[in-house]
Amino acid sequence: MAGPSKTSSWILSAAIFLLLEIAALALVGNSSSLQNVWMNRFSHRVKGFFWAGGERARNFVMLDAQNRELAEENAMLRAQLRRFQLSEVDSLQQARVAAMGSRDNFLFVPAEIMKVSRNNQHNYIILDKGSEDGIVPGAGIISGRGVIGQIGAVSRHYSYGMTLMNNRVSVSARIGADGIAVPLVWDGIHKDRALLKDLPLHYEVAPGDTVWTSGYSSVFPAGIPLGTTDRTRIVAGASSEVDVNLFENFSAVHYVTVVINTGWAEIETLEQP
């Protein structure tokens, strides 16, 4: 019996205290402009603290939705950038692109990674977009930091792909803006390292050069930065290979963009014997 009575007595005392304290503060505020300004400033600071806290909490709760929006915006911007880059290409490059049979028919679809493996030799990725979203097998997967991998199979709502950290994936890459185009493959060990293979022995590569997608494959558009060159090695006295420090951090990636070449089927038809 004493418990609840004591509690209610405390609540009553606290209520009276609050009431009288507020009355006293109001009196102070009304009696002196100096104290009034000080109290206003203090109350603004307190309000600011709570508002900022509330906004932070709200943002945290809505982080997922915001990330999704950003991913969609990224995909849209990437498509715009692609159009812009193509409009800027000089006539020589246009002729070269035309000669390679590469036309700008890439679609960009934002996607979220549902699962990704990083500790095997054949690492894979599962995305939350499938055939209903326009994803097709063979499409490329990129992020803001470079190439992620390539779609292998597609279901209605999900798609399965191999990441660049997979021995079976090879990306056509170019060293520098006008350098040679060679295949880029994972080095099989590091999460942030790859190799440029089959370089002619006479070809010199300066460490620190940026490596881009060449655009010679029908999977990735040209000009996606992949990483920077590092050491060069001679392989079996016949060719050389270059270490590449990838821009992509496979441990942190969560949102990606699927690049779909709408002319893929046509190209495949041509490639068939």
Partner: protein, 170 residues
């Protein structure tokens, strides 16, 4: 009889505080006050809501008659009234409340009473000086004012307690 005596002494001390506030300004570094001690010495039958009412009325009267910012003393005195029982319970334990006895130097000892006065005056002075400076005075000034006022308040509290508390027990 004892109750009337306490009320009378309480009113006289409030008048004394008003006179000090008006005519005995020692220094801008020193604040001479014994209001927290008076609130702490309220008899035990005076419950917390009543103590809050007394603190508010006392603070208002002192502010009004000394011409200081109205409500300033109330703001600082109300927390002392609210925390009167928890503070006494913390220092002297539940025994004091079980026996329903008032504060007494003989029963509760000088160190305990001094500690209680120290905490109550610290609470009062911290709030009073903060509100009074309103962010306009430097920290060192407030600190010196607080320390000097605290020493003075505790020194005054000792003879004041012997007047306020039951003379038979002191």
């Amino acid at each position: 009889m004892r109750g009337n005596r306490f009320i009378l002494i309480f009113i006289v001390l409030v008048a004394g505080e008003i006179l000090i506030g008006n005519y005995l300004n020692l220094s801008q570094f020193v604040l001479l006050t014994f209001l927290p001690t008076m609130i702490l010495c309220l008899p035990q039958p005076v419950s917390t809501p009543w103590a809050l009412g007394i603190a508010f009325a006392t603070g208002l009267a002192v502010d009004f008659f000394t011409g200081s910012v109205l409500g300033q003393t109330c703001v600082a005195l109300l927390p002392v009234a609210l925390l009167r029982f928890p503070l006494l319970r913390l220092v002297f334990g539940n025994e004091m409340f079980d026996r329903r006895e008032n504060l007494s130097v003989r029963r509760h000892g000088l160190p305990g009473l001094l500690l209680t006065m120290l905490v109550a005056n610290t609470l009062f002075l911290l709030i009073f000086i903060t509100v009074d400076s309103a962010g306009t005075r430097p920290f060192w000034f407030n600190l010196v004012r607080f320390l000097l006022s605290l020493v003075l308040a505790v020194l005054i509290s000792l003879p004041l307690m012997s007047i306020l508390l039951d003379p038979e027990n002191n």
